[in-house]
Amino acid sequence: MTAYEQSKWNRLAALLLAVVPGLAFAGENPEWFEGMQLHAFLSQGYVHTTHNRFMGDSEEGSLDFREAGVNLSLRPTPSWLFSAQLLSRKAGEMNDGSVNLDYGLVDFTPFSNETWRIGVIGGRFKNPIGLYNDTRDVPFTRPSVFLPQSIYWEKLRDIMLSSDGGQFHGEFFHGRHSLLLQLGIGRFTTNENLEWAYLGNDRPGEFENDGLSRVGRLQYEFEEGRVRLALSGIEANFRFEAEPGLPTVGSGKTRIDYWVASFQYNAERWSLTAEYMREPVEWQSYLPPALNDSREAEGYYLQGTWRITEALEVLLRYDAAYLDRHDRDGSRQSSLSGLPAHLYFSRIWSLGLTWHITSHMMLRGQFDIADGTAPLSGRENPDPTAMERHWKLFSLLFSLGF
């Protein structure tokens, strides 16, 4: 982190620290205006790994995992909503802590009654994928310190995050059943993390949207989420424009689809969650030609959480990810690339404990035992031959929010 970034982060942190406790103790939603709401959160993580780097220099114990956000919404009439959230995220070498517009949108829902709601959104909206992506950077909306990497890859976070464009949404309710459909079209946010993830390194040139991408989710709920079923997907097109005059690096196109099927059952004391993902990726017209390939990544997890008391929650999860579902042990990809096979898969057991100290304060721990390194970013681990197949992770997260 540069000194400039450091000071920028410090200023934001100081601001939030000054604002959060004041408002948290003064009352929930300041009533400056009946239709206006302000919410904010701040979290600091600690990550320690036995091998490999995740969220900074984790082999030595890293504090380079921080999230801070503040959002404001205004509902001048029941059919109009204006909302925006600023987010600062420091995630090892992957995000530098600079402040970004997480979302900024106008929602117009002209048709609304107790059986249906239909409306449109314009601006930057969160991509509705799976059960957690829409709020993935908000600590107390996640079940654990880190979301299951098989679906919510940290290194692919930036592609899944948000779109600049428009979205249609419709909600239908009948008795104890509800159906929610969201269909969006727009340009995805892009940055160097995508080059690392899809081209193997940060190449000289620009990885950018190639036309418009689409995102959507269809979700069924029984009894307000006692049972929740969802199908969501992305269809994204990117092109890499190489800097001219470099004969060894050529331009090309990458087409990414991303499909997630989700299931959740919520009882009073426990919840069971499972999601399954498929991601067909295709590389076209790149140089060297060896880059042009297609493969289908696959990932799934099964997660159980148990609320022992109102304040304490335990989590157990098994999470598996394969960069090519026809080469789950990575041997084919390894023989083509000459790199270790463990880069192409991961199987992770996670144990988590969450303590809701107050409704505004949370402390959470997560312990992972991992076989394989697929979720780890090449940007944080530039030498793949130095990575270890078997590794463990211990993390702590302290969060404030209101």
Partner: protein
Amino acid sequence: MLAGGPLYAVQLVVNPSVPDTKLSPSTVRALFNMRLLQWSDGTPVRVYVLPDDNALHRQFCKRYLGVFPHQLRYSWNRRVYSGIGQSPHQVKNVEEMRQRIADTPGAIGYLPEDLIDDSVRAVEME
């Protein structure tokens, strides 16, 4: 009061200006899920709730909504932190709840039966 159970049954209450006198179970669920945002005369709905761990809140969730507090919280958080909705106003205790409902046109919340006076109106669920 927080540690033990509530002494009186929980009752749905509204600001006396609210035109609707009876509400169906699905309407009550839609109101507290923050997806039904106006009353039949067009007045904006203002929802008030107690904290998630409050015994009266839990009783209300169970009796009127048929959900657990953590389900409601998930749905509110998802709307608030993805920018597509707002959350209810959270009050500290039942006295503040009664005061806010009495003072705010379009307000809905819940109270123990013994705390209901002329400043608010009890509503039956059909």
